[in-house]
């Protein structure tokens, strides 16, 4: 009965995670993005042990060009740019990630509730979302921050407050779509509770586009923080890349290196985030996974 045995061998359990990795690693751009990410994370974690120093300390002559003494030069106060970049990596990443986590928590919660319950809940939450959407985000953040003393927590929160709307709309759209699937109805027919249907049935199926949105949001949050610091609205005690650019902006013609290197660091990080996001998007798209 060779035919029968062969049919059995065909149906082996598959491993979705392994397949995801496989798809992801087949994508060269995505791998480049991941390498960039790892580079930034390594810098943030191990940088200061290799190249210790206080970024605020004035260690040399102001505006020393890149050279033997200071690899990336010093700024107008004589602070080492390399130390700043290394230190800034952890600050920038911390802000980028925590702002994204806050964004995701607010956005997904609101989107899930609106999409699942529909009716007046949806109506109410979507009106709130629209309210936040029509506000110009940069101005809104600036108002929020100038009302209080700028601190790293406030900045994280402010970024989250202006950027959760997209996430909420995405989560809502996914929930609206998936809750109509028969397997959700089947779950209800078996007596499952709303909370368990939302968390255990719909959310895992809605996750792929959300993961991509979350990954891309890290980039947006980093850019946001840089813009705020550039405008002088950042936390003056947090030595982020945006702060470096912002504080040296008046000396841009005299010391190109003080702005170029942190700017380049931001560029590479955000590029990495985008590439990883796109790679995840392709890898998580079930249509591309066939064959």
């Amino acid at each position: 009965m060779s035919n029968r045995e062969k049919t059995d061998a065909a149906v082996r359990p598959d491993r979705p995670l392994a397949e995801l990795w496989h798809m992801f690693f087949a994508n060269k751009a995505a791998v480049l993005g991941l390498v960039l990410w790892l580079l930034v994370i390594t810098t943030a974690v191990f940088g200061l042990t290799i190249h210790p120093g206080d970024p605020f300390a004035m260690v040399g002559a102001p505006m020393t060009p890149p050279g033997e003494e200071f690899l990336l030069g010093t700024d107008y106060l004589g602070r080492d740019v390399l130390t700043g970049i290394i230190h800034g990596a952890s600050v920038t990443l911390a802000i980028g990630f925590s702002a994204t986590v806050c964004t995701a928590i607010i956005g997904v919660t609101i989107g899930v509730l609106a999409g699942y319950y529909g009716r007046w809940v949806d109506n109410l939450l979507m009106r709130v979302t629209e309210f936040f959407q029509v506000l110009p985000p940069m101005l809104f953040v600036m108002v929020l921050i100038s009302l209080f003393t700028p601190s790293i927590y406030l900045i994280v929160l402010a970024i989250a407050v202006v950027s959760w709307t997209g996430m909420a709309r995405l989560a809502r759209a996914e929930f609206l779509k998936i809750k109509e699937m028969e397997y959700v109805k089947a779950e209800r027919a078996m007596g499952a509770r709303n909370a368990s249907i939302m968390a255990k049935v719909i959310l895992p199926n809605a996750l792929p586009p959300l993961i991509v949105a979350i990954a891309l949001n890290v980039g947006t949050a980093i850019l946001f923080e840089a813009a705020l610091s550039f405008l002088g609205l950042g936390d003056p005690n947090a030595f982020s890349w945006g702060y470096m650019i912002g504080s040296s902006r008046e000396y841009i013609w005299d010391s190109w290196w003080t702005i170029t290197f942190p700017g380049f660091a931001i560029f590479l990080t955000v590029l990495g985030v985008s590439l990883v996001g796109d790679g995840l998007n392709d890898a998580l798209n079930p249509k591309l996974r066939e064959l």
Binding site: P13, Y183, G191
Partner: protein, 322 residues
């Protein structure tokens, strides 16, 4: 023969309010189920037949309270399901289960077959995890699959196998009553007969009561003991299988029968096809809903609603002309 009534549905109505077309319009109502009554004896099958949009699936969902009925009562083994509070209803769901039409979309694509079948046991907290896993294996072999297939994902099965998994899932909590909502319409004819035979075998083995929804008279004739024909939210004809097919009364039932493709030489290419589509349940025709498509309609049909009356013992028809 056991003639104890298992399910009794009395004057069930389910209306939906839909979005108004413009701000000052009256909010339109969809009369999806409009006064439906039937009984199913324990261990028997009632077939609910009609075209899409006639309210047969809404009836099924209302019976299970997956859709809230507007009024009426649904009594399953002495318990009025419409009066249960949310918590009691959840617990009561172990007695009533459903098999859906589309075996592709009725399973969570991210869980394995074993987990899918185990879900009702987990939700209803039946047995320890070990007992649940044992039960899953037992159910898999019961529906003609192999226990080791529990590790596979839905997309690794064929349509017929998937429907077997859905049957196993419905059986898991040992229900008395199962709604089969077009369980074979999405399947190949060759597989259809496998699933119908499986359902019949399980019914004999476990004394299950079925409410079988379908649009195909040939399928209904094979699996059902009693048949109710529905049109736009109302039952137009109801009888046991033999009386219905021996003496079809309602013109709509006749039309449904003539639409079934046949392999007989004589019957070939002689269909009295129904004209047009089912009218919108938002704005049903007056009087007998069927009068707009009925070849025999008279003036009276568009004015008075025909009552469902017993023309022979246990043969009910709602038509002025019978």
């Amino acid at each position: 023969m056991n003639s104890e009534v298992s399910l009794k549905v009395d004057n069930l109505r389910t209306y939906f309010k839909v979005r108004r077309p413009h701000l000052f319009a009256e909010q339109p109502t969809v009369y999806a189920v409009d006064g439906v009554s039937f009984e199913i004896a324990s261990g028997r099958t009632l077939g609910l037949v009609g075209e899409s949009g006639c309210g047969k699936s809404t009836t099924a969902f209302s019976v299970l309270r997956l859709v809230e009925p507007t009024s009426g009562s649904v009594v399953l083994k002495g318990t009025d399901i419409c009066r249960l509070n949310e918590n009691d209803l959840r617990n009561y769901r172990r007695h009533m289960q459903i098999i859906f039409q589309d075996p592709y979309s009725s399973m969570n694509p991210r869980t394995t077959a074993g987990e899918i079948i185990r879900t009702p046991l987990k939700i209803l907290k039946i047995g320890t995890p070990e007992e649940q896993h044992e039960r899953v294996e037992e159910l898999l072999s019961l529906v003609g699959l192999r226990p080791e297939q529990k590790k596979l994902y839905p997309h690794q099965f064929s349509g017929g196998q998937r429907q077997r998994i859905c049957v196993a899932r419905a059986l898991a909590p040992n229900p008395d009553f199962i709604v089969c909502d077009e369980p074979v319409s999405a399947l190949d004819v060759a597989i259809q007969s496998q699933i119908l035979n499986l359902l019949a075998r399980l019914q004999r083995e476990f004394g299950l009561t079925y409410l079988f929804i379908s649009h195909d008279m040939a399928v209904v004739q094979h699996i059902c003991d009693e048949i109710a024909v529905m049109y736009l939210g109302r039952i137009v004809e109801k009888a046991d299988r033999r009386s219905l097919f021996l003496d079809v009364k309602h013109p709509y039932t006749k039309a449904l029968l003539s639409a079934v493709p046949s392999m007989d030489k004589e019957a070939k290419r002689s269909s009295t096809a129904l004209k047009g589509d089912v009218p919108s349940p938002m704005d049903p025709p007056s009087g007998c809903h069927f009068h707009t498509r009925c070849p025999f309609a008279e003036k009276r049909c568009s004015m008075e609603i025909p009552e469902l009356r017993e023309v022979h013992p246990n043969h009910w028809v709602a038509c002025h002309l019978v």
